[in-house]
Amino acid sequence: MRKAENDRNRCVACGLCALRCPREAIEIRKGCYAFVDITKCVGCGLCEDACPTGSIKVKEYEVARV
């Protein structure tokens, strides 16, 4: 499963990822960094494509089977 993950130390909180996200899964938290709601994220990669710093990346996640 593909999900976006953000490096908060590198993020400049420009908000471009949040603007691009088609699922409104990203919000800028208190002007500090972009927060990705992985329950909404569909891993489309539009945020990664726009991010000027390369802090937000789409990564492959293993889904735990119960």
Partner: protein, 199 residues
Amino acid sequence: MKKGRKKHWYEYLWIWTIVYFALGFFNILFAWLGMIDFILPLIFAIVGGNKWFCNHMCGRGQLFWVLGRNMKCSRRKPSPKWIASKWFRYGFLAFFLTMFGTMVFQTYLVFSGAGTLRKAIKLFWTFKVPWQWAYNGSVFPDWVAQFGFGFYSLMLTSTLIGLIVMALYKERTWCSFCPMGTMTQGICKLKAGKTKPEA
């Protein structure tokens, strides 16, 4: 940017950036309007503790997107890592503020009568470009125009730097080290530090 939804008025603010530079070409006093772009983000950060200005209203960032993405003027390559590093961001902010201070001091010299009005703009803090057509006297004292020339130089230089990094790297690479962005994020972090943002 998302298709199929109504656009807000502030998504067209990239037009304002073009209008701003056009106005300053004809009359340098219009350069003062750029102070809006300085003061508004600070108000958002200090009062609201957010970067709403950067996120939604920055005409410059929008212009880089329109030129870089819509008009395909950007290589869209990832920028070097150091551009978004803390030392570079805060270093550039310090440099920018020093230059801003120098510009204010020059305005003060004209105000106090120790300096004379220079009808030129300085690009990249180095190259002097004659700009005398943009000012032929006004009801305001000379220092008002001097600040205009200085401020317009600052705005034009930073936009040119932004355009260069837009062409070379991602569209809005300027945002990674924009002094206003660094400053407002710093303020927001200080504010959030008191009330820790949840993980």
